[in-house]
């Protein structure tokens, strides 16, 4: 894991054209290079080169790949993964051959789908008929038992079937079960074959029971026919799974190679390419290219200092264990090149905030279990779509659960009960007004704790910002900015004055020259920001009028002063929400505890407490998660995270690129 974003280097290489394919595959296999188009290189480097021209239609490859994916989808088959070893094994695919295979599969599927459709129509008809029979809606169906005079029974059976009726044999009789709405057609057929209805009531009764039995058997038979067709479709795809997987990998490798080669330019015998690589991989990449070209190549490295830092892609590496928190950072923005990696700080602050707002050993354990079971379920069913509890949320819950349990240990809460002694203070007792002794004995104490927690977070943000500014060599901003050193001093003095004021019973501020100097000197330095910046701009050739400088200085100072005062104050007080949610959590659990005592029945008590815990986990857990996110994004990130970076996206086997068309 890196504390800062990774140092990057730009590689420019010239290799023999006949080695290009091997180099491309080797670089994709490593997956650590982000390619830069040669058109984006300086003018003089571009003159003698031509753009890459593909020998096969990329669109046709993409279409074929999409068709294979569609077939896989129909067979409920997961897409294969490409390994580095596959890169060498797969060559440029023969699209004609693949098309023939896909067309053959499509023909089989279409044929079976047509069968499936016909079977389904019969199922619909039988189901409707059986439904009427079961509900005894005789006005909608008709049952006949009888004989025919004509001897061509196969013709009779065919015609009855095509009129939508069901024909069965019963001893020497025919039985016909039909919908009355089809009678006009059916009657014509019966007349033609001189149908004679059986007049014996006992035969009618027995035959009807038999017909019901047979039609229900028919219904089952049709259902199993349908399942068999479905299986045939799946089997027809599964039989070709390996072959299709191979083609899919070929197409995917081809598309990736084409994507990379589109960044290449060529002279008659050489290939030129360029791209960003983390500095730590410099030697490895150089060795790969040298190896693939048998040493016949020229490689140049450009240091990040030679390029505008805003154009250098940013690679952030965090420990695998911090992955869920990296997503929180990614969702916000990409850090600036060379700045601090916010992930470890977010991980700590997010879990700390959650633990303070949702502190309970039992509920934390449930959250952990939900996360664990969800993650295992997604692992077991990799094709499963993300539900309300997505894969990511399940992973995050596995961290928040233990955080909540730790909070529960500090505050002695288990499923809303104080079954174990608190390590710090009993939150329930404090909120419910019966705390005895201890460090905190009322809700004001809790508010004070969360405000102090907020101050720590804000100061951490300020210090991280100062480190970033020093690394970026932006010393003027470091001194003059509201999040710079002067802003920090003003904040520190403000906190000291406020705590003194509260400590004096809201009567007085510190009677010390430090307060005056602590405010006046930083304020004066911030006031100087305007003239100093004007002087720096003038030295860079952008001279401003004196009146303009004076106006800007006054205006900027007023705005900065207002922002420092209101911004820091509101950011700090914003942390009171941590206390608010913690108190709400305790209050809700207390309310459920009181409600559970009303029925005076132990079973009802347990049920009410289970319901209470479920509701609190769902509602409070969600609120605490959202508020922790909000505090990180707005109060913490605001101090040091500019989010102006460009994310480093090397091409690898997992890249989600398609065609470049």
């Amino acid at each position: 894991m890196n504390l800062f974003t990774k140092k990057m280097k730009m590689l420019t290489a010239v290799i023999p054209s006949d080695k290009s394919e091997y180099v491309v595959k080797a670089l994709i296999g490593r997956g650590v290079m982000e390619f830069v188009r040669v058109e984006d290189l300086p003018e003089e480097n571009r003159k003698l080169v031509q753009k890459h021209q593909s020998r096969i239609s990329i669109q046709s490859i993409a279409d074929m790949r999409a068709r294979i994916e569609s077939v896989f989808k129909q067979g409920n088959i997961q897409l294969p993964t490409i390994e580095v070893s596959d890169l060498e094994a797969y060559d440029r695919p023969d699209t004609g051959e693949v098309k023939r295979l896909l067309d053959a599969i499509a023909d089989t599927i279409s044929r079976e789908r047509e069968n499936q459709r016909l079977i389904n129509q019969k199922i619909n008809l039988v189901s409707e008929l059986v439904g009427y029979v079961d509900k005894k809606e005789e006005e909608y169906y008709q049952f006949r038992v009888g004989t025919i005079e004509k001897t061509n029974t196969s013709d009779f059976e065919e015609r009855i079937s095509s009129s939508g009726a069901f024909l069965f044999n019963y001893n020497d009789y025919y039985m016909i079960l039909s919908l009355k709405r089809d009678n006009s057609r059916l009657d014509g057929v019966l007349d033609r074959f001189v149908w004679t209805e059986c007049s014996k009531p006992e035969v009618q009764t027995k035959a009807f029971a038999k017909a019901i039995e047979l039609i229900k058997a028919k219904q089952k038979e049709l259902e199993s026919d349908k399942a068999a067709v479905q299986k045939k479709i799946t089997d027809s795809i599964l039989n070709k799974k390996e072959e299709l997987s191979g083609y899919w990998k070929s197409f995917r490798v081809f598309e990736l190679c084409e994507h990379v080669e589109n960044h290449f330019s060529h002279t008659k015998n050489t290939t030129l390419f360029s791209g960003w690589v983390p500095a730590e991989k410099e030697k490895e990449i150089e060795a790969i290219i040298n190896d693939e070209c048998d040493g016949k190549c020229i490689i140049e490295w450009t240091d990040d200092t030679a390029i505008d830092r805003s154009k250098v892609p940013v690679s952030v590496s965090s420990a695998k264990i911090l992955e869920p928190f990296e997503v929180i950072v990614d969702n916000y923005a990409t850090p600036e090149y060379g700045s601090i990696n916010p992930t470890p700080f977010v991980a700590i602050s997010y879990m700390a905030m959650f633990a303070l707002m949702f502190a309970d050993i039992g509920q934390g354990f449930i959250i952990f279990l939900i996360g664990l079971l969800g993650t295992l379920d997604y692992k077991k069913h990799p094709m499963k779509k993300d539900g309300l509890l997505s894969r990511y949320l399940c992973r995050l819950l596995m961290y928040l659960g233990p955080a909540s349990m730790f909070g529960g240990l500090l505050f002695g809460s288990t499923f809303g009960y104080s079954w174990i002694p608190a390590l710090w203070f009993n939150y329930h007792a404090v909120v419910n007004g019966h705390a005895e002794g201890g460090l905190i004995h009322d809700v004001y104490g809790i508010l004070g704790v969360t405000i102090k927690f907020g101050i720590i977070i804000i100061f951490t943000g300020l210090i991280l910002n100062w480190i970033n500014l020093i690394r970026k060599k932006r010393y003027l901003t470091l001194i003059f900015d509201k999040n710079g050193i002067m802003g920090g001093i003003l904040y520190a003095v403000g906190i000291w004055a406020c705590f003194y004021f509260v400590g004096s019973g809201y009567k007085s501020f510190p009677d010390s020259p430090l307060l005056v100097f602590g405010i006046a000197i930083p304020a004066f330095v911030i006031f100087l920001k305007g003239p100093v910046m004007a002087y720096v701009h003038a030295k860079q050739g952008h001279k401003e009028k004196l009146s303009q400088v004076i106006m800007d200085t006054i205006m900027e100072f007023l705005i900065d002063a207002l922002e420092i005062f209101s911004g820091f104050l509101s950011n700090t007080l914003s942390f009171m929400r941590v206390a608010g949610l913690g108190i709400a959590h305790v209050s809700l659990m207390t309310a459920f505890e009181d409600m559970s005592a009303i029925p005076g029945n132990p079973v009802a008590k347990v049920l009410i407490m289970i319901l209470g815990n479920v509701l609190v986990i769902a509602i409070e857990g969600l609120s605490a998660g959202i508020q922790a996110l909000r505090l990180n994004y707005y109060e913490f990130f605001n101090r040091y995270f500019t989010g102006r970076g460009i994310a480093f996206s090397p091409i690898s086997l997992k890249s989600r690129i398609s065609t470049d068309n």
Binding site: S110, R117, N120
Partner: protein
């Protein structure tokens, strides 16, 4: 209730859903798919995932169409849940249009079985039999042996008065067109009456949208029945929906006895100048060489043009006041347009149309 509190939640929800409506990419993939099965599989994992599942289970695109229909009913019901009573009643009238389409399908099946003597057996499973707005026993209609049974099944619904105007004999003699035409008229009548329950701002939005809708319908009726089927003046007058500016202008000429198809084109040119070139190219007096198939094709072009025009108008509504019924009407229209596009492509794939032909018909 203020417009903001009435629409803040539902319109934000609908705007988000408009953003989720299928991109051209999905439609493009469906068109490019070489067969029906692959076209349907494009829908897997999208908002229409359920349609893919229906096809996977049945292999029947008519079942897919039924599922799409049921989704349409379900989303209207969902809209009602978020509306106050008056606006909810208006949405119910919009749902009656869907109910009317379902009823027409049922009656068409009955007609096929009892008048044309076709066997309809399994076809009944392609129509929705659940209650949409009014309590209609669809099983009674689909299984009716006589027309009177249908009329009886519709007692207590707004459609009863229309159905009771016809007899078995009328239906056998004239077919279902007059009945279906009167049902269309009934819906517009009920729709315009329901505007009175809306707030004045909503009423204005809804009225402006549906007055254009009526005009478009009358223009298409004029072309389809006037130019294509060559209806006489009296028959045409019965087809027109008696609302909107096109009808008003045509009626004036009809009453004055100076109505001609060429003058109708002039009226439409005045009211909807953009559509004039297509209309004029369909005038047989100017272009005697036109065949029926030419007119049919041009009618489709005009329908498509008018549909695009409506689409633009709804897009304009979306950029206007966010707290009116306009957002909901735009969503309903855009969603319906997308559903129709999906249905069209799936049918085309079923009949093995070439990619080019599908594009031509969609354009």
């Amino acid at each position: 209730m203020s417009d903001v509190s009435r629409y803040a939640f539902i319109n934000a929800k609908l705007r988000a859903r408009i953003g989720e409506l299928h991109s051209n990419e999905i439609i493009e993939k469906m068109i490019k798919a070489p067969n029906l099965a692959e076209a349907v599989s494009v829908l897997a994992g999208t908002r229409h995932d359920s349609l893919y599942k229906v096809y996977d289970e049945t292999g029947d695109i008519q079942m897919v169409e039924l599922a799409l229909f049921e989704e349409e009913v379900a989303f209207h019901r969902e809209l009602i849940k978020y509306m106050d009573e008056n606006t909810g009643n208006f949405v119910k009238v919009l749902m009656e249009k869907i109910e009317e389409a379902n009823l027409k399908n049922e009656v068409r099946l009955w007609f096929a079985a009892n008048v044309l003597h076709h066997h309809i057996s399994y076809h009944s499973s392609y129509v929705d039999k659940e209650k949409i707005v009014n309590s209609i026993d669809y099983y009674k209609i689909i299984n009716a042996i006589s027309y009177d049974e249908i009329v009886k099944a519709l007692e207590g619904t707004p459609y009863h008065s229309i159905f009771s105007k016809f007899s078995n004999k009328d239906i056998s003699k004239f077919g279902l067109f007059p009945l279906e035409n009167m049902l269309d008229h009934l819906w517009y009548e009920r729709l315009f009456a329901s505007f009175d329950d809306l707030s004045s701002k909503d009423e204005k939005v809804a009225r402006s949208i549906y007055l254009v809708d009526v005009d478009i319908k009358n223009m298409l009726a004029l072309i389809r029945y006037g130019l294509y089927y060559e209806f006489n003046k009296k028959e045409l007058e019965q087809v027109f929906i008696p609302l909107g500016s096109v009808y008003k202008a045509l009626k004036l000429e009809m009453d004055a006895g100076i109505f001609k198809l060429s003058s109708a084109s002039r009226i439409i040119k005045r009211l909807y100048p953009d559509s004039a070139p297509i209309l004029l190219s369909m005038d047989k007096s100017e272009h005697p060489e036109l065949t029926h198939s030419d007119i049919a094709h041009k009618t489709l072009s005009l329908e498509h043009y008018l549909s695009e025009k409506r689409k633009k108008e709804f897009t304009k509504i979306l950029s206007g006041d966010p707290f009116t019924i306009g957002t909901m009407l735009a969503y309903i229209f855009l969603r319906k347009a997308e559903d129709n596009m999906i249905k069209g492509i799936l049918s085309a794939k079923y009949y093995h149309w070439e990619e080019e032909k599908i594009r031509r018909e969609l354009d």
